[in-house]
């Protein structure tokens, strides 16, 4: 036998032995890979238990199966006999095994634990919406004895869970206080992938904190359907389906792939009542396909801003002679409705009102080109309007401190972080009158309009500019607010989406 073949046999034997231990299957003493697989395949074929078939797939191939892979192995085993189970198992896994570099992998079964999937935050240097939630929440659980868990990410080829490297932990847990330089991990070579050490959850609870990458949705879907694990996810929004008209097709397509996983999970924790309602409505579609819907809970996001940001805002001294400032903060895309705000400002400028309006938010050139051209045109007409694509934190905080009010009249949001942020900085907000924005505005300090009605935006902005009593009333409402902390959010999330799924009965 050539040495590389010996290594392959050894790796397979070791994976199959792990499975045998997990399933309490007695193996002959010091078995070869083939002897071990022969025994395990017979037993799994006889049981026809989907959980066992799922695990057998991981053992043979070194990858988590997609639903189609799982189906192939299951069919092969269904049509096998005890004497041919071994052959059928190999044949049923051949297609999946042929498409990956995984033949030398080792596996560790993680039993009766909590796994927290932080894949994107672990591997990428990027920090907007979802990553901010994860990087605020997960650190709250570190070192807590009542929150035992392991952080996991996907192998670079998106075929199984692995533990995080020190640098990856740094990206997730110490975002604002980094121990390592901010640089990306080197790309994995085929050899790295071939030898990866997988973590295989078994009767465990998995919390998926992000919207998973398109490439892992099939694996997660099979895991949720066929493995004996329980799965929770955070439900951010259903924008790519509900507001598909505002996004490119491929985003909606990816979201549909995500839904084909989400429909099989146990719990979806919506980040607002409105997001939860969207997922509840989606869940109500599922009986038509015989799928038992997930349980939907609401765990509203935190609304606090960092103490340093607050302090920065509070330290700004505002010159009362400055014209009133309106700010409009958020990524620049059609759904955020900045065009309507600019139009309203233009109407009010024509009416002779004196104010300055500043737009802040990055966006693709396709989305910003015409807008920025219009802004320069209006500047030439003498209107005090600016549009910033990139702005440092200090500049942004200074704007919040100076603003008479902020405007966020988005057509659809999962939560409406800019509204919460503005309120946390003490700045009144003009926002939309439905969905999550209605919810976040319900604490007070906001004026609400139908964002699809230009005239109502014009009227509201005019009132906020000229009506001092209105604005001071809103300030009064804001003063009484206590923002929700990330610690509270992390606690609620654990209590609602993790704790109920953790197996309490004794392990047999």
């Amino acid at each position: 036998m050539r040495p590389e073949t010996t290594a392959l046999h050894a790796a397979l034997r070791s994976r199959v032995e792990v499975v045998a231990r997990t399933l309490s299957i007695a193996l002959p003493p010091a078995p070869t890979a083939a002897e071990a697989l022969e025994v395990v395949a017979r037993r799994v074929a006889a049981s026809a238990d989907p959980n066992e078939i799922w695990l057998l797939h991981v053992a043979i191939t070194g990858v988590f199966p997609e639903p189609d892979d799982f189906g192939r192995l299951r069919r092969a085993l269904v049509l096998s006999t005890p004497a041919t189970a071994y052959l059928s198992a190999l044949e049923g896994a051949i297609e999946a095994a042929s498409q990956v570099f995984a033949s030398l992998r080792s596996i560790e079964v993680v039993r009766d634990e909590v796994l927290v999937d932080v894949d994107y935050c672990a591997r990428w240097e990027h920090n907007t919406g979802i990553q901010r939630v994860v990087r605020h929440t997960v650190p709250e659980w570190q070192g807590r004895e009542d929150r035992p868990h392991r952080l996991v990410a996907w192998t670079e080829d998106q075929t199984g869970y692995t533990s995080l490297t020190e640098r990856q932990l740094d990206r997730v847990l110490h975002w604002s206080d980094r121990r390592f330089p901010k640089e990306l991990d080197p790309r994995a070579t085929n050899r790295d992938l071939e030898q990866a050490a997988l973590l295989v959850p078994w009767k465990s609870t998995i919390l998926v904190t992000e919207v998973p990458a398109d490439g892992v949705c099939p694996e997660l879907s099979a895991l949720a359907q066929f493995s004996p694990n329980r799965v929770s996810i955070i439900g951010y929004d259903a924008i790519p389906l509900v507001s598909a008209d505002t996004l490119p097709d491929d985003e909606s397509e990816r979201f549909a792939h995500f839904l084909s996983f989400a429909k099989h999970v146990d719990v979806i924790a919506g980040i607002s009542g409105s997001a939860a309602d969207e997922f509840r409505a989606f869940a109500s579609m599922l009986p038509s396909q015989g799928v038992e819907p997930p349980e939907i809970v609401t765990v509203s996001l935190a609304t606090e801003v960092s103490s340093s940001a607050r302090a920065a805002v509070e330290s700004v001294v505002v010159d009362p002679k400055e014209p009133p400032l309106i700010i409009c903060v958020g990524s620049h895309e059609p759904r955020k409705n900045q065009e309507a705000v600019l139009f309203a400002a233009q109407v009010l400028f024509r009416e002779g009102l004196d104010f300055r309006i500043v737009f802040v938010g990055s966006g693709s050139r396709q989305n910003t080109f015409r807008f920025d051209a219009k802004v320069s045109r209006l500047q030439k007409e003498g209107m005090r309007v600016e549009s910033h694509r990139r702005l440092g934190d200090d500049d942004l905080w200074s704007l919040f401190a100076r603003a008479r009010f902020s405007v966020f009249v988005s057509l659809h949001e999962g939560f409406g972080l800019p509204v919460a942020e503005s309120l946390a900085f003490g700045t009144p907000v003009l926002t939309s009158d439905f969905g999550s924005l209605d919810e976040v505005a319900s604490v007070g300090g906001c004026v609400q309009v139908d964002p699809r009605d230009d005239e109502s935006i014009v009227d509201a902005m005019r009132r906020l500019l000229v009506d001092d009593e209105l604005v001071s009333g809103l300030h009064g409402e804001i003063t009484e607010q206590t923002p929700k902390s990330w610690g509270e959010y992390a606690d609620e999330l654990w209590q609602s989406a993790v704790a109920p799924l953790v197996r309490t009965e004794a392990v047999v």
């Binding site: 073949t5 006999t81 004497a83 052959l87 044949e91 095994a97 498409q99 033949s103 030398l104």
Partner: protein, 91 residues
């Protein structure tokens, strides 16, 4: 998919030494399987470009087993495997 259509629920009369032969056959099947699926064996690297070949290449020893099953009919698989092993080893 396997289309072995015999039923070996009943224990087959085992020829002396058949289990040892079977074990050897299983090892051979596994070698073949690795040759098809694993990049480590080197064989795959040569033909990586033709993915369809990779995933459909028959398992040689498994095919022998199946062909025998189809020809002979309801011979219990264990006995059949012994025949195949004997053939392969020239006994």
């Amino acid at each position: 998919m396997s289309v072995l259509s015999h039923d070996d629920a009943k224990p087959a009369p085992q020829a002396p030494g058949a289990e040892a032969d079977l074990a050897e056959l299983r090892e051979a099947v596994l070698d073949d399987w690795f040759r098809v699926t694993s990049s480590v064996t080197g064989a795959v690297q040569e033909i990586q470009a033709t993915l369809s070949w990779r995933v459909t290449k028959p398992l040689r020893w498994a095919r022998i087993l199946q062909h025998r099953a189809n020809e002979i009919g309801v011979v219990p698989a264990a006995q059949l495997a012994a025949v195949a092993v004997a053939k392969r080893l020239g006994r």
